[in-house]
Symmetry: C2
Subunit: 313 residues, 2 copies
Amino acid sequence: MSGPTGTPGPARAATIVDVARAAGVSRQTVTRAVNDMAGISAATRERVLAAARELNYHPSRFGRGLVKPSARTLGLLVGDLTNPYYADLASTVLRLAADRGWNVVMAEPGSVADLVGGADAVVGFTGLALDRPGPGAPNLPVVEIDPPRVQPGHGRVELERATATGDAVRHLLGRGVRRPVVMDLPGSTSRGRAFTAAFRAAGVEPVAAPREAGWADLRDLDPDALVAFNDLDGFRLLRDLARDGVGVPERVKVVGVDGLAVGEFVTPRLSTLAIDLAEVARAALDLVVELSERRAGDPVRVVPHRFVARDST
Amino acid sequence: MSGPTGTPGPARAATIVDVARAAGVSRQTVTRAVNDMAGISAATRERVLAAARELNYHPSRFGRGLVKPSARTLGLLVGDLTNPYYADLASTVLRLAADRGWNVVMAEPGSVADLVGGADAVVGFTGLALDRPGPGAPNLPVVEIDPPRVQPGHGRVELERATATGDAVRHLLGRGVRRPVVMDLPGSTSRGRAFTAAFRAAGVEPVAAPREAGWADLRDLDPDALVAFNDLDGFRLLRDLARDGVGVPERVKVVGVDGLAVGEFVTPRLSTLAIDLAEVARAALDLVVELSERRAGDPVRVVPHRFVARDST
DNA sequence: CTGAAAGCGCTTACAG
DNA sequence: CTGAAAGCGCTTACAG
C-alpha cells in the first residue's frame, strides 16, 4: 500500500540500498562507512552515516552472515533458569561455547520461540519440550541431556544415578531409616524410581508421595526420611520442618537431588545427590561438535552423580 | 586443495546444490523434500533425504533467513548466571521475549562470542563489558540496565536505590546501629555510595571494607552491622558468623542487596534491598522494541528497589 | 576515493 | 510432480 516510489512503506525495515539512495552513493560505499573500512573520504562517511541514522538502518544479520564467516550458534534448551541447577549448567555452556567461538541462543520450555530456526545445533533437556522433529523438519545436530528415551541419531549425555542413589540409601539405612518417603512427579521419573529400587533392594518399602507435598501432608505417615524431588524442594521442606519444630536430622532426615551450591548455606546444610554440571556441559558440547562435523552413530557420554552427605541426614 | 570436481573438499559444509547434485534433482526439489512440502513424490523425497543425510547437510540459517520471515534475535548480556539475580532476570527476559516472538542469544561478560553480530538488538548490563561500540560498528539498538554512565542514543533502565537505602539505614539506626561497615568493590559502586551517603546524612560514619572481606577481617572493627555487596556475599557472611558463634541479629546485623528468593531459606533469613526483576525485564524489552521501531530520543525507565526486612536485622 | 559485477544459500512464484 | 528464473541483503574482489 505504499506509494509508487519514494514513499517509504511503514513496515519494511531500511536496507543498504535505501541508505545508498538516500545518501546518493553506491551500496559498497555504504558498506565501507557502516563497517568503518578504509578507502572512503571522511565527508562521504559522515553523509552515509547520517542517512543510516535517519533511516534507522541496521544491517541484516542474514545478508551479512551469508557472505562472511560468522560465529556458529548453539541452541540451548534448559528448564526454568530460576532453578540454579539449570542456571549453573547454562553458565558453563555459555563459557565453553564462547571458547569455541559459538554463540548461544537459549530457551526455556514454553518459551521456545524459534530455537530450531535460530541455531546450527541444539543441546539440552529435550525431555522438557522439543517434540516436533518431524520427518523433514530442519534436522540439526541434537544432543539430549538426561533424555527420557533414546532418539536415534541424537547424541545424549546420560546422568547416571544408580551408584550415588545406592550410596545415599546405604547412608540412610545405616542411620536407622526404616520409613522413608520418596517424592516424585505423577508419572514417576528416573530419580524417584532409582531411590525406590534401592530401598527395596535393602528390604525397605518406601512410601511414594507427590513432589509438592508438605510436612502437613506427610506427618501422619510418621516418616523418618524424606527424599525430595530436588534441592529446591528440599529447602522448602527444611523450612516447613523448622517452622513446625521437627528436628532435622534427629527426627526426620532430608535428602535433595541436584547438588546446588546454596545447599551449603541453608540450615541444616542439605545432603544431596550432586552432579558435576561443568562435566555435563563439556560432554554435551563435545558431542555436538562431533555431530556437526562428522555424522557419528549414536554418541553417548555418561556422567555420574555422587552422594554428598551434609547435615540434614 | 580439493579435487577438480566431485572430490568434496573436507572443510566446506554441504550446501543445497551439493545435495541436489548428489540426488540428481534441482535445488527446489531439495527444498521440498527437506522442508516437508507438498508436490513431490515419495520416492524422490526419500532419495533426496538420503543424499542430505549422507552429506550431513544442514540448511544455512542465513540463506533461509534472508528469504523468509524469521524470529528476531535479542542479545542479552548478563553477569555470572551462577548468581540467581542474573538468572532470574534472564528467565523473565526469555519468557517475555518469546511472547513477542524473539529469540534470545545470551552472553556473560568474558564470554561474549559475537553477541553483536548475532543479534538484532542488545539488552543488558553493559557496564560489565561491551566497550566496543566503535564509530561504525554494527549499530544496533541497545538498552543498558543499571549503566555506570549514560550513553547517548542508548535506552536505559535505571535501578533506583536512594529510597530503599534510606529505609534500610533508618531501620538499622532504629535498632541501635552505630558502627556499620559498608562492603563494596575497589572503585566503589552506586550501591556502596548510596549506603554511605544515607548513613552520613544521619550523622553516622560507616567504615568501608572490601567486598570479599570475611568476619576475621572485620572483627577488630567491632561493627554492629554489615552491609554486604550482594545477597550471595551476605549468605557467606551469615555462614561465617554462625561458625564463629556471633549472634545475628543480636550482636551484628546483616543486610544484603538483590532480593534473592533463596534469602528466605537461609538462617537467619536475610534482610535485603530487593528489586522486581520482572519489572526490570519488562521495561528493558519495551525500550528495545521502541528503539528498534522508531528511533526514540534517550528513552529511560526507572525501577525502584525496596527494603525487605527479614530476620538478619 | 568510488562504483558495476558477481555470488553467498536459500525460497517463492511461475512454467511446464 | 519437477525445474529455470528471480531475488532476499550483504560483502568481496576488481576496475576505474
